[in-house]
């Protein structure tokens, strides 16, 4: 089966290309375009799943052959790919999520019939999938940068796909500008590596850091951190993320949040573990800190949102933070010479990567269905959807439980691994740095709890209670294809949650490649039923076992019911309304109200601003109508980016005065230059 994965992967790539072309060919026939483009994408993604799984099972067998997929035409640009475990693992992510989203899109794109050009959507969708897959497989810095930019380009078009909206246009620009700045950093970083390596092939970059001088090495690391950090959306480079994700069509948001930002994680992992050689301690510390900060701030800002998709976008920042915690810890362990723990932490990070990809995509798909049904992204106008779109609600609930890191779903497992690695990290060093681990753990706990709060809000306000608007009241269940897409991811969530030990086997080659340790055997006890921390004494957990026991315990309440209260009856009645004439939706608890305690507690961060205008006849306590507006401040936006932007504009306008339109002035420029040069030449 040596060549099987390769052949399948090439098939996948061809499939995406075909999908893109098909989409463009059927520009006029939107139905055909929809089916061809997304159908092909789904098939290709499926092939990709198979390919990457087989490849990972085959392990590092053919990790080191790099294959030219196109002949090299421009000097020293080689279009070569390599099937190494890390790349394959991320390919698995993109293919899995891509599969679900493609199926979903088959239904979602129908919403655009007659309004927008579905063919274009499908084409760019396939282009993104293709580019992302190639990013994960590229084996040459030039090639990597090319596909990286193509990915950014295609995504830009997808973000501003509904370009009639000002919002989407600006979001696209912001996204592309940030991404381009990131790319600039990557270019410099790669060139710094190239200076030492003398080649652009990734194999020549392997462990190049060891040969580099400290200065360029650290510079390269920081450049890569910024470059990939922008894409991953780490604080404070995240500002594009909550703008771009909501503006895009929902299937695209799912793609971006699930897959696209993972390219940043991939890049960091690739660079930090594969290229840079043994890391100095401060790298790990930096990444761990950034991760922690991103996690906490991300979830805090998410809590303040009542735009469903923006909320999810901020959660992406949070989860990227959690992933980075794992990676940072792994780097620190590598530094202090604990390959075992390094593998554990790396494993935790990567596992959370795929988990986040799965449940975040699931949540975005659900949000997409909701927005599709209610024509709004504002949670304050939703509610009561659990009755109107029960299946979507259920899938969303699963996603919410998973992302809140609650057992027995996958989010819990990966965070449990993260906890384990942080916990055992305490013993690895005796310097004060060790305190970072438990503190990071505590922050992780805070993040988890806040995330739970946030998703109680998200699910409760969106799906429960009474509908808050007519749209919500007339909402309808999403079509079958859209549900099918969510089913795939729901199943993935459950499986990844219940059978971690089986899945971790796939990750063995990755950890072997990057940290030199295969862990799955140590991690699984009781023939795979139980997941244990790297050291057997560390602690164990078994989501599967817990679920089984829970099932066994279920008879207890049922028995109680059976014994005591067979005779009782169940009556539906109105909710207690304190004796008013029934509850109206306007009396429900709003999303803003729900998050108010948090807003008050973290005043210092949010600087909340509230405006209350009430009109009343005789007493302010009997207001005729009342307008309440509460806003929080996005610190990075207002303190860093806006001033910077303003400065640039100011300077540019000033410089514009040079071109004042007077010929004399222009002559003087030349004259002065000439005289200076003459003096200089003397």
């Amino acid at each position: 089966m040596g060549q099987l994965p390769l052949t399948l992967l090439l098939l996948t790539l061809v499939g995406y290309v075909a999908g893109a072309v098909a989409g463009l060919l059927c520009l006029r026939a939107e139905r055909a375009a929809n089916i061809c483009a997304f159908g092909l994408a789904a098939l290709a993604a499926l092939t990709g799943v198979v390919a990457s799984v087989t490849g990972l099972l085959a392990g590092a067998a053919h990790a080191h052959q790099s294959i030219e997929i196109l002949p090299a035409l421009i000097p020293y640009v080689r279009f070569s790919i390599r099937l190494d475990p890390l790349g394959l693992f991320f390919t698995l992510i993109v293919s899995l999520v891509g599969l679900a989203i493609s199926i979903y899109s088959l239904g979602y794109a129908r919403g655009y019939y007659g309004r927008k050009n579905v063919g274009v959507l499908g084409a760019f969708f396939n282009a993104v999938l293709l580019a992302v897959t190639l990013v994960f497989l590229a084996d040459n810095a030039f090639f990597f940068l090319i596909v990286w930019e193509i990915m950014a380009l295609a995504t830009y078009f997808l973000v501003s796909f509904e370009h009639e909206k000002e919002e989407s246009r600006n979001a696209g620009v912001l996204y592309f500008v940030m991404s381009h700045i990131g790319t600039g950093c990557l270019i410099l970083g790669f060139l710094l590596l190239f200076q030492t390596a003398g080649g652009y092939g990734f194999e020549s970059f392997h462990a190049i850091g060891a040969k580099m001088a400290a200065g360029p090495r650290d510079a390269a690391f920081l450049l890569f951190l910024v470059g990939f950090g922008v894409k991953a959306g780490i604080v404070p480079l995240h500002i594009w993320l909550p703008v771009a994700h909501p503006a895009a069509p929902s299937n695209v948001s799912a793609l971006m949040s699930g897959v696209l930002i993972k390219t940043g994680i991939y890049g960091l992992t690739r660079v930090a573990f594969d290229f840079m050689g043994p890391p100095p301690n401060w790298w790990g510390v930096t990444i761990l800190t950034i991760g922690t900060v991103s996690a906490v701030l991300g979830v805090l800002y998410a809590l303040m949102e009542h735009d469903l998709k923006r909320l999810l976008a901020y959660h992406s920042i949070e989860n990227i933070g959690i992933i980075l915690m794992g990676l940072g810890a792994a780097l620190m362990f590598l530094h202090s010479g604990h390959p075992l723990l390094a593998s554990l932490a790396l494993l935790a990070g990567l596992y959370h990567t795929i988990n986040h990809a799965v449940f975040k995509a699931l949540l975005f798909l659900g949000a997409g269905a909701v927005v599709h049904a209610t024509h709004t992204r504002n949670m304050e106008e939703m509610g009561g959807l659990v009755k109107r779109m029960p299946r979507t609600a259920f899938f969303f609930l699963v996603g919410a439980v998973a992302i809140s890191a609650l057992p027995p779903l996958n989010g819990f497992v990966s965070e449990w691994l993260t906890y384990q690695s942080l916990l055992q990290g305490f013993g690895t060093t005796s310097s004060l740095v060790r305190l970072m681990f438990p503190l990071a753990g505590a922050m992780l706990a805070l993040t988890g709890a806040l995330a739970a709060a946030c998703f109680v809000k998200a699910f409760g306000i969106t799906f429960l209670a009474q509908p808050r608007s007519d749209h919500a009241a007339q909402a309808h269940e999403a079509p079958a294809t859209m549900l099918a897409g969510q089913v795939v991811l729901t199943v993935a969530c459950v499986l990844l949650g219940l059978f971690p030990t089986q899945f971790l086997k796939l990750l063995d080659p990755v950890t072997v490649q990057l940290a030199g340790q295969a862990l799955s055997s140590q991690l699984s006890m009781a023939n795979g039923l139980v997941l244990s921390g790297a050291v057997a004494t560390g602690g164990t957990v078994s989501t599967l076992g817990l679920s089984l026991i829970a099932l066994c315990l279920l008879p207890v309440p049922l028995a109680l019911w059976f014994v005591f209260s067979r005779a009782t009856s169940v009556r539906r009645g109105p909710t207690w309304d304190c004796g008013l004439q029934g509850l109206t939706p306007r009396m429900e608890y709003t999303a803003t109200g729900f998050s108010k305690p948090i807003r008050m507690i973290f005043k210092a961060l949010f600087r909340p601003r509230r405006e209350v205008q009430r009109e009343y006849d005789f007493s302010p306590y009997f207001a005729k109508n009342l307008r309440f507006e509460s806003t929080v401040e996005e610190v990075f936006q207002t303190r860093i980016y806006r001033p910077l932007n303003w400065l640039v504009w100011r300077v540019s306008r000033r410089m514009r005065a040079l071109q004042a339109g007077s010929l004399q002035a222009y002559l003087i420029y030349i004259f002065v230059t000439l005289i200076l040069l003459l003096i200089f030449a003397l």
């Binding site: 035409l73 421009i74 000097p75 640009v77 030039f142 940068l145 090319i146 596909v147 930019e149 193509i150 380009l153 501003s160 370009h163 009639e164 000002e166 246009r169 696209g172 620009v173 592309f176 500008v177 381009h180 700045i181 600039g184 270019i187 410099l188 060139l191 710094l192 190239f194 200076q195 640039v648 504009w649 300077v651 540019s652 306008r653 410089m655 514009r656 040079l658 071109q659 010929l663 002035a665 222009y666 002559l667 420029y669 030349i670 230059t673 000439l674 040069l677 003459l678 200089f680 030449a681």
Partner: protein, 491 residues
């Protein structure tokens, strides 16, 4: 008749012929044919140069080495596209009554002369003749710039010609100095003014005189090439000229002046054997790069923005040459070519937009062009993607080549600077084009039926661009390497 002679004669003949035949179609056809022919000749020349070095005619009066061959190709391609585009363009202008038939004839007469002037620049061996030819191109393009005879276009033309001829006067002084330097060794008979001969005696030339000569040539030809701070005429002329002319000015004319400057640069380096001229080029290139970005960012006029982007690209080319390593020079040459293939498309598209919206102000054009001129906007978008240096188009490769060459040469600071400037320009272009291309069009504008104007021309250029971005054929590659060698002071 022989190759180089034909290259000069055919366009000139076409131009003069247009004096006789007055029909628009006929003149357009004549232009197209002429430049198509020169393109073919260019390819032949390319092959011959690639095979056996420099080609000379008229006892070395005309001489084409790799560099010239490369430029010949650029000139012919861009001119061909321009004349392809011009026909429909002026048809609509005539219909709109914005030009008289007489003015249109002016265009079709002058453009081929402009073209042959440029051919003479790159083919002339004698520096003096080269100077005269550059002046000739300037003069022939002035009236083209002033074609619309609006207040603004006259102003643009006036600035263009004043600054241009002043600069060229200085360039002439530089030329004189070089000649003088050559004279000093051979007082008896007239020394040869041929570049090739000068190269052979370069080491014996008086270094101080040559330095002085290069300074004047730099200012002079630099003005024509639009290097900051002598670039000030560039946005005016480019924005006021009819779009075909803007395309030619920006696509090749700038590079022609740069070519003339390069000849001096090579000579100077050969004589002084120092980095004197390199450093000057580098400095001016960086200045141009640095100046372009803010102007693009706050620009209010489409064609002016494009002109500033040309400034940026010229700057980048100069930086590439100024860095002076084989890689960067090669990158600079690539960049010349790719830019020549890209920028005209943008100007053509701007022309269509102008004819549809009757303005070039971003504010007045407003959003939503994609709904009005779908095809044009599509092509323009592709060209813009290419021009801002995104893959899979060549400028990405050339820019990356230059930067990586810079890093490899240890010029980290410069490379970083270049990268920053490029990113800034990208952001500017992105923002500006987003203001007009996507969105919901203003109520006044409706889908324009004649929106497919100029598609052949743009298609030709973009197709070539795409092909050559992914695949540079062997002989071309050889010639480019030879040219890079020549600039780099090699054989």
């Amino acid at each position: 008749m022989s190759l180089l002679t034909l290259l000069l004669a055919v366009p000139a003949a076409a131009g003069l012929g247009c004096l006789l035949l007055r029909a628009r179609r006929a003149m357009a056809a004549a232009n197209v044919l002429a430049f198509g022919f020169t393109l073919a000749l260019g390819v032949v020349l390319l092959r011959r140069v690639a095979a056996d070095g420099a080609v000379t005619e008229w006892a070395g009066f005309l001489r084409a080495d790799a560099l010239s061959a490369w430029m010949v190709l650029l000139i012919s391609t861009v001119s061909l596209a321009t004349s392809l585009y011009a026909g429909r363009y002026f048809q609509r202008d005539l219909a709109a009554g914005s030009v008289t038939h007489w003015r249109m004839c002016e265009f079709f007469v002058l453009t081929p002369l402009f073209g042959s002037g440029m051919f003479l620049v790159v083919l002339a061996n004698s520096l003096g003749v080269m100077w005269a030819a550059v002046e000739a191109t300037a003069l022939s393009s002035v009236l083209l710039v002033a074609l619309y005879n609006r207040r603004t276009s006259l102003e643009g033309a006036w600035k263009y010609v004043m600054l241009g001829s002043l600069g060229l006067a200085l360039a002439l002084l530089g030329t004189v100095f070089i000649y003088a330097a050559a004279c000093k060794d051979s007082p008896r008979q007239l020394p040869s003014f041929n570049w090739s001969d000068l190269m052979t005696v370069a080491p014996q030339l008086d270094p101080r005189l040559v330095r002085l000569a290069f300074v004047f040539a730099l200012i002079g030809y630099g003005t024509k090439a639009g290097l900051a701070p002598m670039h000030t005429w560039l946005p005016d002329a480019h924005s006021e000229a009819p779009s075909p002319t803007s395309a030619m000015l920006s696509g090749v004319s700038l590079k022609i002046a740069l070519y003339a400057l390069l000849r001096f640069h090579i000579l100077t380096t050969a004589c002084l054997g120092t980095a004197f001229s390199r450093h000057l080029l580098l400095g001016f290139g960086l200045l141009s790069l640095f100046l372009a970005a803010p102007f693009i960012l706050v620009q209010e006029n489409l064609k002016r923005m494009l002109a500033y982007s040309s400034l940026e690209h010229i700057g980048l080319i100069c930086v590439g040459i100024g860095l002076g390593t084989p890689i960067t020079i090669f990158g600079a040459l690539m960049h010349m070519g790719y830019h020549a293939l890209t920028k005209p498309v943008l100007f053509f598209a701007a022309g269509n937009i102008h004819q549809t919206c009757h303005t070039l102000e971003f504010r007045l054009i407003g959003p939503g062009l994609v709904k009005v001129l779908p095809v044009t906007v599509l092509l323009m978008g592709i060209a813009a993607v290419a021009a801002t240096g995104l893959p899979p188009f060549g400028l990405f490769f050339s820019e990356l080549t230059i930067i990586s060459g810079g890093i490899a040469a240890g010029q980290v600071a410069i490379s970083v600077f270049v990268l920053v400037a490029l990113i800034a320009c990208f952001c500017g272009m992105l923002r500006q084009l987003t203001r007009i291309l996507p969105g919901e069009p203003k109520p006044g504008l409706v889908h324009d039926g004649r929106a497919t104007d100029g598609v052949p021309a743009m298609g030709l250029l973009l197709g070539t661009l795409l092909v050559f971005s992914l695949w540079i054929p062997r002989p071309l590659l050889d010639v480019m390497h030879q040219a890079a060698g020549i600039i780099g002071g090699g054989p």
